[in-house]
């Protein structure tokens, strides 16, 4: 048998070779007829039972998804559950059954087709792909009506490569990576949820291979190359050999990175920098620790506030902070006080609309104005400092007075706690985010008073370059390699070190491997990033010499455009095998 090559979109990287299992959504004996008028009540009842069964299945899948891909991605399945109670969905089907004597199947089929057609004709690609979510619910209803449960994807217990017309998120979330080596589908686009889910689950996948899928039979050998978006059915011996080699190389690269998670970030000439993670929840902390975080460089506390319907009280906050610091053991955790306002709203706070939210009533400005809210948070943070190494950090400080007032409130809170006999870390460090240019410029003065700095590059770049980072039309201007930024960074680090203060970075730049050599040369004490970037950054650091980075910095300081600096960084990285 000759080998067949099919190409699609590689949405989740990795190469796998295995045996095909076909998974087909369409039912084989659908009864799409009508019912007698006398049987309408029975048919409505049958439909209601199926609907209930479907709803329970989805409820379980939501829970499963929350655990495997996280709450945010699980929202996709939650929305599908809403379809079931939508006034334009099941009630319309019931109408067809009772008014036009359709069988339940025929009614489901008709309404699903109608809704799918609306989605498929929408101009926006993302919306067109939602047709699949509706179709999935329709298929589930039909399966429930027929008492068919189909292959239970979660119960596959041998190593297979799954080939399907399409996989809904409700399907994908059930896949066990241990058995489902990879999958390929006929339909689907780059932004489909299946694409996003497969990546999160770490299952190599090629989607959208089209009609060619008909040539793939159960039990055949197939290679799925999620890195380049190719499937090879019935590969010959030579192809298998070359792909096996590729797999070995891939696994090596992966295991190399894997190994770096547990290593310290040390350059070839022995210079070590601390690697932290930016997190928002206890779950994030667990993941960050597994990825090799040596501390939490930024705990964004606003997530705790945003997940509630009213202000979270001291006890609730205390528990979250304490859990996180306990997850991290003796490693430092920098807790940033509430950074809300402007674009990030809390419905229960009633903050008026503003013309320029990024320059408005937000973060520390709001906290100093609403002191009880600030005191509650500081009490919770200080109390949790009895359980590990916590540091407090204020966001959006723009002048020394703000810092002094905020610092003073920390002292007041300490006094309260002492009076109550509550324990906390008396030596707790208090520092600031450097994200407003005025602070970067006056770093020397601030360094005399604060315990530490953490540079928030996202806002620092936005404010320094006057570029709204959400505006796609001008995003070409948003670049942390702009020489103005490099110059500010140098000023901040030098000012901190002149006073013997610690200076870290928790903005997006810290997780950019291409920027790392420059950040080492500038002398940052800590780099904190999203947990997924840690292994790559540790690997990068292990490949370079600090001395070479310092020469690089000298060269970079001579350059006058972001473009030139970026090119310089790219060539440095490729010379050093990064």
């Amino acid at each position: 048998m000759a080998e067949i090559r099919l190409s699609g979109i590689g949405v989740s990287e990795g190469i796998r070779i295995g045996k095909v299992v076909r998974y087909d959504h369409s039912l084989h004996n659908p009864q799409f007829g009508d019912v007698a008028a006398a049987d309408v009540a029975k048919e409505i009842k049958r439909f209601a039972v199926a609907k209930e069964k479907c709803s329970q299945q989805i409820e379980q899948l939501i829970e499963q998804a929350q655990q495997t891909v996280g709450a945010e991605k699980a929202n996709v399945i939650k929305a599908q559950k809403s379809f079931l109670v939508d006034p334009t969905f099941c009630p319309e089907m019931e109408k067809l059954i009772s008014k036009r004597l359709f069988s339940a199947e025929k009614a489901v089929d008709q309404i699903v087709k109608k809704v799918v057609a609306i989605f498929e004709n929408m101009p926006n690609e993302y919306m067109r792909e939602r047709a699949a979510d509706v179709r999935d619910i329709g298929n589930r209803l039909l399966a429930a009506l027929n008492g068919v449960t189909g292959i239970n994807l979660g119960e596959i217990r041998e190593e297979v490569i799954l080939i399907a017309d399409d996989l809904a998120p409700t399907d994908t979330v059930q896949l066990n990576k241990k058995y489902v080596l990879a999958f390929a589908t006929q339909k689907g686009g780059k932004t489909s949820h299946t694409a996003i889910f497969s990546k999160t689950l770490g299952i190599p996948a090629v989607i959208g291979i089209g009609e060619g899928i008909a040539q793939i039979q159960d039990g055949e050998t197939i290679i799925v190359d999620g890195t380049s978006g190719i499937c090879i059915v019935n590969p010959d011996a030579e192809t298998i050999r070359s792909y096996s080699q590729k797999m070995v190389i891939e696994a090596k690269a992966e295991s190399v990175l894997e190994a770096y998670a547990s290593l310290e970030a040390v350059t070839q000439d022995g210079y070590r920098v601390e690697i932290g993670a930016n997190i928002g929840t206890t779950t994030d902390a667990l993941y960050a620790r597994d990825q090799g975080a040596e501390g939490i460089g930024l705990l964004r506390t606003e997530l705790i506030y945003m997940s509630e319907d009213s202000l979270p009280d001291e006890e609730m906050q205390f528990k979250v902070y304490r859990d996180i610091v306990q997850v991290m053991g003796d490693k430092p955790v920098i807790i940033r006080t509430l950074d809300i306002g402007g674009d990030k709203e809390l419905s229960y706070l009633q903050i008026p609309k503003e013309m320029n939210p990024f320059l408005g009533y937000r973060a520390i400005r709001l906290c100093l104005d609403q002191k009880p809210l600030f005191v509650t948070q500081l009490r919770a943070i200080l109390r949790s400092s009895a359980y590990g190494k916590i540091k407090v950090m204020f966001p959006m400080i723009s002048c020394l007075e703000e810092w002094r007032v905020a610092r003073g409130i920390v002292e007041e809170v300490k006094e309260q706690l002492r009076a109550e006999g509550s324990s906390f870390d008396e030596g707790i460090e208090v520092g600031i985010m450097v994200e407003v240019p005025s602070v970067a410029i006056l770093a020397k003065q601030f360094a005399k008073e604060v315990d530490f700095f953490s540079i928030g590059t996202n806002d620092l770049v936005q404010y320094t370059l006057a570029v709204d980072r959400m505006n796609e039309k001008i995003d070409y201007l948003y670049d942390h390699f702009n020489p103005a930024i490099i110059s500010l960074l140098q000023n901040i680090v030098n000012a901190a070190h002149a006073e013997g203060k610690f200076v870290g970075m928790c903005g997006g730049m810290a997780g950019d491997s291409k920027a790392v050599p420059l950040l080492l040369a500038l002398g940052l004490d800590e780099l904190s990033m999203s947990a997924t970037a840690i292994r790559k950054v540790k690997y990068t650091i292990s490949q370079i010499e600090l001395e070479k980075c310092r020469y690089l910095l000298e060269d970079v300081l001579q350059l006058s455009t972001a473009h030139d600096i970026r090119l310089k960084m790219e060539s440095f990285c490729s010379e050093n095998g990064i």
């Binding site: 929202n75 006034p87 993302y126 919306m127 939602r130 945003m306 674009d343 709203e345 419905s347 959400m470």
Partner: protein
């Protein structure tokens, strides 16, 4: 009550905003009808209806509420739209 807002979410009226809008609308007794500038309309309590309206970044959303608590409903829904549904 009729109120108007502009959708400020970069990715349009995708699943999450539609879900939040529908949930909020269902908190009220008032009937909620949502219209776009072309006069197309959907039931504000229907996630499918909302998603298929084709609202994109910058689209005008016209919200009509009818019933005892129409004022509360209209204001709450407008606030939700203006808050970008809690997204960045």
């Amino acid at each position: 009550m009729i109120v108007e807002g502009i959708l400020q979410n970069k990715t349009g009226f995708h699943i999450r905003p539609a879900q939040l809008f529908m949930e909020k609308a269902n908190e009220f007794k008032a009937n909620v009808t949502v219209r776009n500038e072309d006069g197309m309309e959907a039931d504000g309590k229907s996630i499918l209806g909302l998603m298929t309206m084709g609202f994109e970044f910058g689209s005008k959303i016209i919200i009509e509420t009818n019933g005892d608590d129409e004022e509360k409903a209209g204001n709450a829904l407008l606030e939700l739209v203006n808050s970008k549904f809690g997204e960045e």
